[in-house]
Amino acid sequence: MSDIVVVEGLMKRYGDVEAVRGISFRIRKGEVFGLLGPNGAGKTTTIHVIATLLRPTAGRVAVAGHDVAREAAEVRKRIGIVFQDPSLDTALTAYENMYIHGLLYGLGGEELKKRIRELLEFVELREHANRLVRNFSGGMRRRLEVARALLHRPELLILDEPTIGLDPHTRARIWDYIREVQRAEGMTILLTTHYMDEAEELCDRIAIMDRGRIMAEGTAEELKSLIGSDVIIARFDRPACFRDPPIKECRELPDGRVEMVVENAAKALPQLFDAARASGLRIVEVSYRRPTLNEVFLHLTGRELRDSPSSTTRPPAFMARRR
């Protein structure tokens, strides 16, 4: 069986609010699967259902062949989860948090102690093992939670916004841990994020989620190829759209700008300028980019996603780039 998570027609309603509106996806064994979307897209609700903490309103969710509603105990054995909000016992030490978790998951004895030492080493908290978690920084707590979630060697590791609220340095460390766990243990990882660079950096496959629905799914490359090669974003002094070659597709965005898909923006831009002048339009602003997941998201939903704060790996969104 190669699909470790199967989600079919999942719906979750809170009172009148439909948080998740009938989504389906599958996660293959050994891959890093990302749910990418803005806050409120329904990502956390989705993983809480997968983690047996919420009952689905409709649809079927199975982890390693076990239904999350009917065989919760079997599912719980197989998953490790890092919640978006901390779930540590702050009155106890890092070591005690790990130890209690291990006992709750049926581990014990020397093996448990050894595994705790290894994992605290792995997340670089070994020398803080006997300090109270109350005195830990946000980054240290997140690292401890990652170590704790790995303790019982879950088949599926679930990370809800693993780097939200962390400084760039800690973020890079968490990314390293995730890659390392995946490489060394071949663990399946499901993560949610609203940072597109995080999704692109870590995930083998990504499902883009917005307002309770999955808008598209695939590798980062596959998602980008939904758009074509380059994207020109322009604002004219009045609403207008060009559809003549080399422009393959054109549509107006909700904020008044116009999105045009072209093969090669460097060559298409002069032609666009000519066409605009010929139609008596003034170009107020123009930029072009190779498509990133942000353009894909914009294309699918009409709104923008953003990069991690103070990320240095990429220029900020909407800055024209040369090739």
Partner: protein, 265 residues
Amino acid sequence: MVMGFARAFGVMVYRQLKRFVKARGRLVMTLAQPIIWIVFFGVGMGSVFSFSNPVAESFIKQVFGGLDYMTYLTTGVVGMTVFLGSFISGITVLWDKQFGFLKETLVAPAPRSAIILGRSFGDTLVVLLQAAIIALVAKAVAPSINLAGLPAALAYGLILGMGLASAGIVISLRMTTPESFQVVMNFVMMPLMFLSGVFYPLDRLPLWAKAIATANPLTYAVDGVRYWLTGASAYGPLKDLVILSAISAVFIALSVWEFRRATLD
């Protein structure tokens, strides 16, 4: 399954005891209140009820089940310590809810019933330690107390503690804000504390007050504890045991039921 249950139960007992050891300051805090009652209330009321006239003296003893007031009060305070302490410990589930540890226990593959019962039991053990200390304090101010009865008295405390810790858990699982905790403390716990026979006998109370006292688990715990520490009892230790156990069992069952179906909804 049995192994899994025993294990998870043990882990939670361990966690609650660990937390207690880490927060030793809390012991002083929780002991302060009963000691204040004994010293400042007991000394004052004790002096009101003590007479040099032997007729008056024997009349007072008759009112308080054959005991002098200090003995009557302090044995009651032992029960009260368990009552308040275990309820407050159950309420701390609310803190686990707020600081997230509750989620950690909800995704654990261990039996939910074991987790919640282990938690109540661990907290009750801590409370019984406090009650034992209060009993020693009581002995110091009321020398006629018989400490040989303490283990039996603490058994009543264990049953009361499990019941009240469970009641606290049920309330905090249903409660959405910590403010409602104050409401429950002031409008439920305080009246029950007074209508229980800790401070005064119940037999001359008006009917409505008697009705409340009859349904109050603390009434039977206090009477049972007092019996084992002094020999004086209003209902008899067996009746105390049966009714106290029945009330506690209801709360314990409710807490297991609530926790088993708990989700993040």
